[in-house]
Symmetry: C2
Subunit: 489 residues, 2 copies
Amino acid sequence: MPQAAPIAAVAARLRSALPTGAVIDDPTQLATYDCDGLLHYRVSPALVVLAKSADDVQLAVRACVEHDVPFVARGSGTGLSGGALPHADGVLIVMSGFREIRAVSPRDQRAVVDPGVINLAVSQRTRPDGYYFAPDPSSQQICTIGGNVAENSGGAHCLKYGFTATHVLSAEVVTPDGERTMLGTTAPDAPGYDVLGAFVGSEGTLGIATEVTVRLLRNPQSVQTFLAGFADCNAAGAAVSAIIGAGIVPAAIEMMDALAIEAAEAAVSCNYPPGAGGVLVVELDGPEHEVEAELAAAEHHCREAGAFEIRVAANDTERQAIWRGRKSAFAAVGRISPDYIVQDGVIPRTALPEVLRQMGELAAERGVRVANVFHAGDGNLHPLVLFDEQVPGQGDAAEDASGAILDLCLAHGGSITGEHGVGSDKAKHMPKMFTEDDLDTMQLVRCAFDPQGISNPGKVFPTPRLCGEVPGKRKAAHPAQQAGLGEVF
Amino acid sequence: MPQAAPIAAVAARLRSALPTGAVIDDPTQLATYDCDGLLHYRVSPALVVLAKSADDVQLAVRACVEHDVPFVARGSGTGLSGGALPHADGVLIVMSGFREIRAVSPRDQRAVVDPGVINLAVSQRTRPDGYYFAPDPSSQQICTIGGNVAENSGGAHCLKYGFTATHVLSAEVVTPDGERTMLGTTAPDAPGYDVLGAFVGSEGTLGIATEVTVRLLRNPQSVQTFLAGFADCNAAGAAVSAIIGAGIVPAAIEMMDALAIEAAEAAVSCNYPPGAGGVLVVELDGPEHEVEAELAAAEHHCREAGAFEIRVAANDTERQAIWRGRKSAFAAVGRISPDYIVQDGVIPRTALPEVLRQMGELAAERGVRVANVFHAGDGNLHPLVLFDEQVPGQGDAAEDASGAILDLCLAHGGSITGEHGVGSDKAKHMPKMFTEDDLDTMQLVRCAFDPQGISNPGKVFPTPRLCGEVPGKRKAAHPAQQAGLGEVF
């Protein structure tokens, strides 16, 4: 691993080229960058660079390449898997000041933005022209497009519109060897390898996006939102299955269980149906006639599944009221529990009732409670494991329950993360989901782009390896990989 | 390049392990494999292997790796870009006998199939259960799923449902070094690199799929199809823009111009609206209420744009009659022209009128005619350049017009291929669409998977390179690529 000398050399190189204040090595200031949204991992970087342009990013990466120093890019630091956790001996490249919307072309349905542009800022800029950027992570008021690209971010409306990967047409990237290249193209149906597709969601391990061309969608002609109260989550889940099964693809179907409803009520008095053990928030959008027809059908399916109250928003104010409870739910959990862990897993929608039942059991066995708020349409669960750090053993019990929930998702053919990413937090779980062979194949790509292993090392992949060792069993056939290249990462 | 000895060694190895008749080296038999659907490139392979299993494929690839012999996989040979054109010194691995549907799981909306399974066979098998496989290339009665994966095949209904990449969940692959690995996962929203996304559409250059798990869609509750006749293609194009602009996403919108209509009438008497200079075939599918509302809106937009006749199919027989003209159009062109070239390009939908005008001009300048049949909704043109080989100079003029059409697509921000792939035919056009830097980045992936350059060499990429040279300017930073590895390809 790099020692003080390489970092000092990198610092000197960057100071000579960048404005005063853009390079930070004061320990107190460095400590303010010691985590992202996943607060319980903390590492201060050795150096921080405040990048304002692609040139700045390239300069920083090239200095790191030359001195074999690891680097990590960070947007707003809202990530929930420690993907932007700094490296103790490395450079943290802070992208949040690199944020101009470069061009908006409504006719071509695209915008060209800097990576530090705030997600919501894109739609705010384009909505008057009749367009918006679809991915809407719950942090969209503060998270950056560059971070969305790194994590392939989702959101409530990704059921209908897809994750970030669907909405990025091309990206200029500084690769881990310090080159600048364009991935993807704005031409429709381009040939060649879809390298952009592999880059989106690579969590900073294949380089840093320095310009992103995003797809804009037309504002829907009509939006209808309703809240449906059910006796329990099983009934609500049956409604979800019936709606999707009927071929309706709502813009969003969100579910909350009794504990999540209780938390939301305590925080924002959202006035959800009294006595509900499960609520659905269903949003439909599209051409007016289509939305009206779908609304009638979705209401019907909810009633058939046992909804005892359905409340359709009559206007935008009522729509926002319905969403307020859902959107506040995470923070609201603080009202009913001193501490909590937000988990993120995915299951096939059909496994919902069984998984919810078993999740309740495993939580009870460990003496903790689980509140559920989730994107029901695509089976993306966000269980909140509630505990009290002051009670001896509860912290460990909650950690244990949180891990067991992922195992439960996997046992039902699901995934260890829906939209929060692997980052630092879940790298250890990757071998539960992928064979060594699968991971070796991903390492082929990693080593092709980052033979030194300096681009966000330690994230995503579980086992530090020499690129020369990857993939071990392929050595005979891959002379390129016998040379013992690169650093451990 | 490999000489006779390596091929003889490969043949001996394969004969020792495979049943009689599975290894072919008789020149007359080899000649029957000398082209795919693009008839004007012809190369006989040095050896043919009829593979029936993943073991057979792996055996063949391993033998090729050991003796440094190129290999090419071939399904039904329906490709239109010479992607399955054999290598004169190489092995052609014929996959069409490797064709069992291994498992169908309607509840999970997926099926596991061998690569040699015929596209249409999947839907024939699953339709009674209420499901189908969406990608529908016009060759779907004969083309294979493995070929669809290699080419990321599209079809008339890909406007709404997306190309093959959207419908493949995972694939077992024999990589160019002879290993077997799984790309993708059936778990929703899986983390890690989307290597499967890069593999789909890689046209055989990253390995051979030996098992494919495809996504099944539910049969739509309702389908409505109509034919609209317009004075010319500009009016028809305006209707397309109005329909899409209104937020309606039809299952298909196909357009034919006067010459294509004439050809179809001559061949199958499809009784299209007399006097039409442009027709649209519009198909809407989904929940019944939604389709009814969309049908009314789409008809309205067509009339507003000047449709003088609209014929809605009252039943399945009438629907098939409407499609018959469209589907026969390519072959039908033989009725009005002794020879023709099928081109495949993409333009932004908004550029349609201008591109059609200029295409007419460039054809007239060269003394040839162009008939247009295309997927209007996504701007995927299939111009048919008509000529008579017997007339001196017409063959060259047609080739020249065909190339000029691609340049026209590129000048309007389009692509050199929509769904036929790059293959042998369009590799030379890749530098018009991608910078050397873009292509270098793709080569990073290529060399990671295929350092010997033996997997379908000569396809997709324009310039033969040593993997040790790729990417040239990155040498300093990528010690892995300095070793002078691999063969020219």
